[in-house]
Structures are given as structure tokens and as C-alpha cells.
Amino acid sequence: MFDDFFIRALVAGLGVAIVTGPLGCFVIWRRLSYFGDTLSHSALLGVTLAYSMEFNIALSVFIISSLIALTLIHLQKRTNLPGDALLGLLAHSSLAVGLVVIGFLTFIRFDIMGLLFGDILAVTVKDLVIIWVGGALILLVLKLIWKPLFASTVNYELAEAEGLNPDRAKAIFTILMAGIIAISIKMVGLLLITGMLIIPAAMARNISDSPQKMVVYSIIGGLLSVILGLFSSLEFNTSSGPSIIAAALFLFILSLFNIKQSIKLKN
């Protein structure tokens, strides 16, 4: 069944969407979309290091992204630079260093486009195992830290005062973000991972009235985006990542009609 590259891509995409759904909600709630960008840009460095040292790509990306994320948390406490400047600094410098390293690795042929925008053909059975096992792990950990993470998203001081240890939850969540980027980089590419995180979640916000519903709709939106995107990429011969994100955008636009209706009802 997994012999067909399209089936493999579909199974990989669906696995990724189930995980990006709930994580994406937190990215939106905690205003972390630029943070997601920074992590995914730093993933390029992880990929090049994996190639140069013949190391597993997902693991290498996971390690580098985690390191960048922890550096960021550390720098946020130590410097006076505003948060967005710090994010930009790390995002673009790690992207640049990654590209420079690629320049040195003349003995390896790189598919830069595939790296940036995702590559259906590249998904192997081994990737599927990484996505589904890694994804299950991420969801399990997220479920374990849900209460403190969610409470501190609503109000940090309240969570801290009532003994939920929000700092620990935040650090673990950061690692989970690095994890999802590591397992989804082949599907959507490093420029578009943040889109996969925030667009289905933003769509879900438009049609939900509770956090649980938003998570569920976000997962459903992600799954639909993958199915729609992959079939249309097959049909129109477009690259997989952008097609999936475009499908997600399409769903988001549809969800806007729901807002308009509810505003009308209120008036």
C-alpha cells in the first residue's frame, strides 16, 4: 500500500496535520507565529548539518531547532532587544549560516526548492514512521502539559500563583515546536511550516466558541487542507507544500463567512 508515492505523501501529510492542529492553536493563542518562523528557518541549518555528517535529518533538525529555541528563551531574559528583533536576528542568521554551509558542501547535490517548499517524492516509509511515532509522542506530551500550558496562556500569573509551574510548561512546549518542525519539514518545506501551524488554527477560531472545539476544527481543517492540497498538486502538477497551504487558505476564507453571519446575528 505504501509503494505508491502519493499514498505515502497522503499518510505523511495527515499525520502532520493531526499534530499541527492543536500546536497551531497554541501558536495563535500565545502569539508565536514569528517564533515558529524562526524555528523553521533554523531548520535549514539542521538539514545541512545532517547532510554533512550523514546524520538523520529529522533528529538533526530537532536538535538544532531546540537549541535555537532555548537560546532565544535565554537571550530574552538577558538582553534589552525587543522580542521581535531577537527573533529576526536568530531566524535570518541561522538561515544565512545554513545557506553558507550548503555552499561549502559542493560534493552533495541539494534540492533547495524541495527543502524550502516540501517534496512529495522524497517521503519514504522511514519518514512515515518518524512522522507517526514522533507525532504521537508530541501529542502525548502536549496532553500531559495541557493544563499548565493552557492556564498560563490565559493568564501567566494566575497559573503561577495556583502552583501550575508555567515556566516548565513553556519550555516543554518550545521543544514540542522544534519536534513538529523536524517531522514536517519534508512535507511542507521550511518556509511554509508556520502556515501549516497557523492557518488551520486561524480558520478554526472563526467557527469555534470553546478551546476544545477550536483544537478539533483545527485538526479537521489541517486534514482537509492536506487532502485538497495533495490532490490538486497531483492534478495541476504543482509543488506539494504550497498547494497544501493554498488549500488551507481557501478553507480560512470560507470560514470568514461564518464570522460575517454571527456579526449580523448580533446586530
Binding site: K147, V154, N155, A161, E162, G163, Q212, K213
Partner: protein, 248 residues
């Protein structure tokens, strides 16, 4: 005097500074089971800061905090819920602890907002929101309640009813309450111990003692002290803008 086992939280010479500016300094106080301690003082006098020191939100502090409970209910002074987060009153009640349906209903009806259970938090008025905050804090039957201006924005009759409720909760649950308010009228009568802050502890004691105190009168004016008693005014120090205290 009460025994040490009854002490829920105890601050000893506690202080907190940001960027070399002291928000509050040398505060000593303790909250015991079944007692209500009220912090009063003008804006910027360090009331909320003191509460946050007691709660362990501020960690790099001077002095010491000794906390003997982790069953805490907190009503922060300000909370803003972002639009991106769809949150109903019901979801908010479950924020830090898993409660059953009946407990939630009871708490909401105690503060008079059971009809708002399925409403979105963003759609509540200021007073309604305040009642929900209080309901959430008491629903988990805490041993220590920290209430930072819990009745702001609540209508006048509601305000009195809520203070009565707070007093009742303290008796029923035998929990200690650290209450912050600048609403002297209603607070003073229900309080066991008053701490008057202005960057440091100006004076403290029973409500009656504090109302008679000269420093208290200097802070709040002659009229405030007439709520409870009439007394002469003599202030022995002034506060500079840097937060220092100069003797007259």
C-alpha cells in the same frame, strides 16, 4: 495569639525591586486560617506587588516568604482575554483544577452569575467578569484566597453582597484571605487585620487601630478616618518621588 500551624503565608521583611526601583520594601505580615487580612494604600503603594510576593509570582525578592499551603485561589487585579482564545465561563472555571458540574454551578450561583455559564468571557461586562473571577477562585475550596480588588466594577449593592460572601467563605471554609482594596467603607468592618501600605508598611493592626493612626490619616485624608473614628492629624514623615521616606 494563634499557633504557628495556623499560619498559611508569612512575609518577613519582604521587598521587591525592578530596575533599581523598590516597588515595596520591608513588608512583614501573615495570613492565618479563617482570618481576613486587608491591604490598603494609595495607587502605586505596592499592594499588588505584596500580594504577588506572597503568591510566589515574584521570586527574586528581599526578605523571605514562607508558604504552608498550595491550595490557593487567586483573583488578579487585571486579566485580559485575547479574542484569539475562545473561552466560555465554563472553560474558565476549569482553568487550574478539574471540578465537577455541581461544584461549578454552586460557585457561580454564590456570586450570582450562574446564568452566564455558557457565555463567552469576552462578552461579559466588567462587573460580571469580576464575579466570575471570584467564583473561579472559591470553587476549588482553597485554603488561601488572594483577592486583588475583587469587586472593581461591581454595582454598589452587589459590592456589599460580595464582601459579605467573602466573609462567609472565610468562616465556612476556614480559609485565610489576603484582600486588597481601596474601598475603605465596606472593607474595614469585615476585616480582622489591616495593613496600610505606602511602599512600606505605614501602620497595621485592627481596623479600629489603623483608622486612628496618624499615618493612615495622612494617606487617606481626614474624612477616611472618620468612617470609624475622629482623631487628630499628625504625620511624621513624607514620601519623596524616589520612594524614600524622610522624617519631618
Amino acid at each position: 495569639m494563634s499557633s504557628d500551624q495556623n499560619i498559611l503565608v508569612k512575609l518577613k521583611d519582604a521587598g521587591f525591586q525592578i530596575n533599581d526601583k523598590w516597588l515595596v520594601k520591608n513588608v512583614s505580615l501573615q495570613v492565618e486560617k479563617g482570618k481576613i487580612v486587608t491591604l490598603i494604600g494609595p495607587n502605586g503603594s505596592g499592594k499588588s506587588t505584596t500580594a504577588k510576593i506572597a503568591l510566589g509570582i515574584y521570586k527574586k525578592i528581599d526578605g523571605s516568604v514562607e508558604k504552608n499551603t498550595d491550595k490557593i485561589g487567586y483573583v488578579p487585579q487585571k486579566i485580559s482575554i485575547d479574542w484569539t482564545l475562545p473561552l466560555r465561563v465554563y472553560d474558565f472555571m476549569l482553568l487550574t483544577e478539574n471540578l465537577d458540574e455541581e461544584t461549578i454551578n454552586n460557585a457561580l450561583s454564590l456570586t450570582g452569575v450562574s446564568h452566564l455559564k455558557d457565555k463567552n468571557l469576552g462578552d461579559l461586562s466588567g462587573g460580571e467578569f469580576q464575579r466570575v473571577l471570584l467564583a473561579r477562585a472559591i470553587s476549588k475550596k482553597p485554603e488561601l484566597l488572594v483577592l486583588d480588588e475583587p469587586v472593581q466594577g461591581v454595582d454598589f449593592t452587589g459590592e456589599i453582597a460580595l464582601y459579605e460572601l467573602i466573609k462567609k467563605i472565610s468562616d465556612e471554609l476556614n480559609c485565610g484571605i489576603l484582600l486588597i482594596s481601596h474601598d475603605l467603607h465596606t472593607v474595614m468592618s469585615a476585616t480582622d487585620h489591616v495593613v496600610c501600605l505606602n511602599g512600606h508598611v505605614c501602620c497595621s493592626g485592627s481596623p479600629m487601630d489603623v483608622a486612628k493612626n496618624n499615618e493612615y490619616k495622612a494617606l487617606f485624608g481626614e474624612q477616611a478616618s472618620q468612617i470609624l473614628s475622629r482623631y487628630e492629624h499628625r504625620h511624621d514623615h513624607v514620601h519623596t518621588s524616589e520612594g524614600e521616606i524622610k522624617k519631618n
